[in-house]
Amino acid sequence: MKAFHGKILKVDLSEEKSAVKTTDERYVRKYLGGQGFAVELVYHDMPQGTDALAPDNVIAMAPGLFAGFPLPTGGKTAFAAKSPQTGTLVESIMGGAIGAELRHAGYDALEIVGRAEKPSYLFIEDDRVEVEDAADLWGRSTREVPDLLKKKYGWDVKVACIGVAGEKLVKFACIDCEERQAGRGGLGAVMGSKNLKAIVIRGTKDLEPADPGALLEVALRYQKVMENAPSFKEDTVYGTGEFLGWINKEKGVFPTRNWQLSVFEEREKIDPYYWATRYVTKNKACFACTKPCGKLFEVKEGKFAGVAIDGLEYETLYSLGAACGNASIESAARGNEICDVLGMDTISAGATIGFAMELVQRGILTEEEVGMRLTFENSEDAVPAMLERMGNREGFGDVLAEGVRLASQRIGKDAERYAIHTKGMEPPAYDVRGMKGHGLAYMTSTRGACHLRAGFYAPELVGKFWRWEGIDRQSPEGKGQMVATMEDFMCVYDSVGLCKFSRGFFLIEKLTEVIEVITGLKFTEDELLRIGERIHNMKGHFNYREGVTRKDWLLPPRILQDPIPDGPSQGSVITSEQMNKMLDDYMAARAWTTDGEPTPEKLKELELA
């Protein structure tokens, strides 16, 4: 088998020791790479009942099977750990090159356990593995840290690090590499809890594909396929927010003011069709991506002058924009920069501020308690100001740094009625009241409300996808099986390291060819989906084992009780009956108990027990 080294590097920070575990072809056949490897390591190696911020939590990093090879959009790296935000197994995927560099250093995956005695960073250069003193880096931003480390080790090392938010255990702290983030689920706080500021890697070993000539041909072919795909030009000019106007106006599912509305009336001001030509100075891309949806957004004058970010992504236009009633694109960009620099997930951070704003609107929170004016009306100033406080855990920012679930419990006074989350995860920018299957996906996602674990917004909004046609977004019928199948498919995607934006043309039957060219291993489509199912079952079993059961999956009150009041999806709601029917269908499709437990027979069938 080519492409893999058959080595997993295991580092124990408490003991300052490292060891190499060897694997063989069977490991790849069973778990594929990327998310599959990372999830396997956490699932099997973390002792049951471990607190997410305790030394025994396992944080794993694994490059996707394609990462390091020139395959368009195929350079992704997976991180995984038990999440302090959800209490579930969270994997988060990033577009930085740290995973591919690990592969060049000779490892297929990295597992970190324990807690360093003092602030530290991990340095890996091929066979050399050191835990180094990070006293000079602690307290520094995600931009300063790589700068300092590159001055020390050379321009070509790759650095993944946390910001101050990770050090301060903000529940949604992220991990940054090259302005790309493993954003969701607070994996940055897990690093912080381990006193681990950064991972620095330089690798000089070869990555050998099984068929180099064929790989060159395949790489160029898919680059052309992508360039000729219908939305290539729009996506590369306007970024991931390209379809914001359509979601907002045509579909009416763009959550606004903490989901009180589903159409943002000031949409024009945050739409990329407005700002791309005014603020974007350069295209940016993830590692190995030939379709740059990243935009260098620069503010040259005014009170936000000096802001420079790789953004704003669609989800951030919602979270730091519409969710907070913020129509100032410059303010949202500054908010994005604060999140990046301090190391916070923009989705959860913004959604949590929107939640607090609604509490102020309803008189549940007062200006005095919050320590500043925090309203939808003054969001332009309030959003950046509160983000600073959250990332540094200052004042009321310390409460909001807990995310909506824990913050609402602490605030009390009916605040939970307005906390929008599943499993403690603030949702992304799709109002699922008008997208029933996507609502199911928010519940079944093992990391809480997520648009990417099933990627189900696309099938429902477009009405057809892959094996299905005539999909009715307002109907719960058949969604259980479809969501389960999409989850398995997306597990495969995250294991080979492909970007979800390729899922429209890089369907599963195309993956088998590429995997064979790179590894020499033949897989059938069914075998790949079976691996996806195995990965999803590991996550599901882990979560059930950690006490997260069906009651924790349920949709929040607003989705079940408050019909969408405005726009094309007006009147839409997911009723309790619809919710439970979809969940029952889903559990049946997975052959899990109705409480969400993978059965012993299923685990045995998947060779997990």
Binding site: G68, F69, P70, P72, G75, A97, H104, R143, D147, W155, D156, E178, E179, T204, K205, D206, L207, E208, P209, P212, L215, L216, A219, L220, Q223, E227, T281, K282, N283, K284, A285, C286, F287, A288, C289, T290, K291, P292, G294, L296, E298, A308, I309, D310
Partner: protein, 148 residues
């Protein structure tokens, strides 16, 4: 004047597709230590490709002058290495201002893929072009490198 690789830093997204393709094309495997060009991804504003200019930029022929055994020559405006003559002393690697002279058993460098450069084909953004040499673009890259 023969055509050369010309870098356009303002168009580079930092994806490194060119680097991987270069290595794969020349070596049949991927390793950025043997790619004949490099992509620097410095900060949120700055990504740029560093290519061999075949000494167009300064006209100094640093590597040619540095080679003690005259293994490096300029033929039709293109800098080439005679691998049989090369003693792998590393002098050329030390003097190259762009850091694109590489060394394994012998020195090796960009050969423009015989007139159909792989990096150009694999760059979707036109950040590396194969055209008339452009000193202004080479100077841009040199300035970026000096700031590193």
């Amino acid at each position: 004047m023969p055509k050369m690789l010309v870098p356009y830093p303002e168009k580079c997204t930092g994806c490194r597709f060119c680097e991987m393709a270069c290595s794969l094309y020349h070596e049949g495997k991927i390793n950025h230590t043997n790619a004949r060009l490099q992509v620097h991804k410095r900060d949120v504003r700055t990504d740029f490709p560093v290519v061999c200019t075949h000494c167009i930029v300064c006209g100094e022929d640093c590597c040619v002058q540095a080679c003690p055994v005259e293994a490096i020559k300029v033929e039709d405006g293109i800098v080439t290495i005679d691998e049989d003559e090369c003693t792998a002393c590393g002098s050329c690697v030390d003097v190259c201002p762009f850091g694109v002279m590489r060394m394994e058993d012998t020195a090796f460098k960009c050969d423009l893929c015989g007139g159909d450069p792989t990096c150009v084909k694999f760059c979707p953004m036109g950040a590396i072009k194969y055209e008339e040499p452009n000193t202004e673009q080479y100077e841009k890259v040199r300035t970026l490198l000096e700031a590193e």
